[in-house]
Symmetry: C2
Subunit: 216 residues, 2 copies
């Protein structure tokens, strides 16, 4: 069992990850700028299994053993900067995508340092940043009865941290970890989220990425 | 039946697309800087079905009804510029990715105009550019006995052209077309190829993208 904080965890993306982490037996703290709102959202999520979800401020969520960043991209760095010391010597998982609406599509934005994960790595020089959870359909993630069978594409420069995150992902129901490689792939993996969501809007679907042809 | 030219068609990527287009009944001309080499490669590809593959110069391949660009990214614009008039009023399909080797990974490069497809669209103002065939495993594409069941993510700004390419893709054995949207998604789709190939190197696999959860 690991204690896991999710910064900006009350949005659809954070909620689904929280639910499936808790269902794998972990104690999850949803962080938010508004701790009362976080407690409310946490109480609304029905965990199966031995884990738990509670709500807190982002600062309190940042104190946990492992921390997931699920904030909107616009406020990510602003949220993280004051948490630099709390996040030191920890694995910080970025699931943030920089996207913009353009008509009926979501399009990827070029983050100032090539990817949001790279921006986070520069903002948190004492932490080990790993990217994961970018391409997942929020609604399916939050519904434990959906027959989700999605791949989580993982990247980062620290091999051991990537493997730690991959092991965590493989414990979560409906998800398989696929380690892709280094931070050089961050922009490609983040921006592909725009493709997934645009496909979903266009085809009125809740699709997700599977990498077929990999051994289980 | 459509006549289709494949510029730079003698490389692994072009060969697989040629074989599966010909197997869907189309007459394919592999173009190359070296027409004799193209004829040699064409003769080595064993088509099943009523289509054909022959070899020619890139200039001759560009005369066909529909043209696929399968050149290396470094020489793409140089190859296309002199073919501007031959390619006017045609659909030009880009399957080009700008990638570089970095250790054991392939990493995406930022093309000067955001994507290779956008570079092509600017170089060929009289043509209609559609992107397709980026994420496919070359070996499996070239082996008609592989149990390939891959998605081809399609993009472009011209809806009718996208649908025309999608229909073509759906005729090809082992492939399903998924229209993603506009050229704003080009960079994301092209760069994800680096992720697919890096996953394959790391996991010693020949994986490919499926978008699960879409209706057939």
């Amino acid at each position: 069992m690991t204690t896991i904080g999710i910064l900006g965890g009350t949005g659809p993306a954070g909620r689904g990850v929280a639910l499936r982490l808790a269902s794998a037996g972990h104690d999850v703290v949803l962080g938010s700028r508004d701790a009362a709102r976080a407690a409310e959202v946490a109480a609304s999520l029905l965990v199966r299994g031995s884990g738990s979800i509670t709500g807190a401020s982002n600062a309190d969520a940042a104190l946990k053993e492992l921390v997931v960043v699920a904030t909107p991209w616009e406020s990510t760095i602003e949220t993280l900067k004051p948490l630099n010391d709390a996040l030191a010597n920890k694995i910080v998982i970025s699931m943030v995508n920089a996207l913009a609406k353009e008509g009926r599509e979501l399009v990827p934005l070029l983050a100032p340092r090539g990817s949001v994960a790279a921006q986070i790595a520069f903002a948190l020089p004492q932490s080990t940043v790993v990217g994961a959870f970018h391409h997942l359909p929020a609604g399916e993630m939050e519904n434990l009865d959906s027959d989700l069978d999605a791949d989580v594409v993982i990247f980062g420069d620290h091999a051991e941290a990537r493997e730690r995150v991959a092991a965590l992902v493989n414990e979560m129901p409906g998800l398989r970890a696929v380690v892709a490689g280094s931070m050089s792939l961050a922009g490609a993996i983040e921006s592909f989220t725009a493709v997934c969501i645009s496909v979903n809007i266009r085809h009125r679907a809740h699709s997700y990425v599977k990498l077929a042809g990999l051994a289980d």
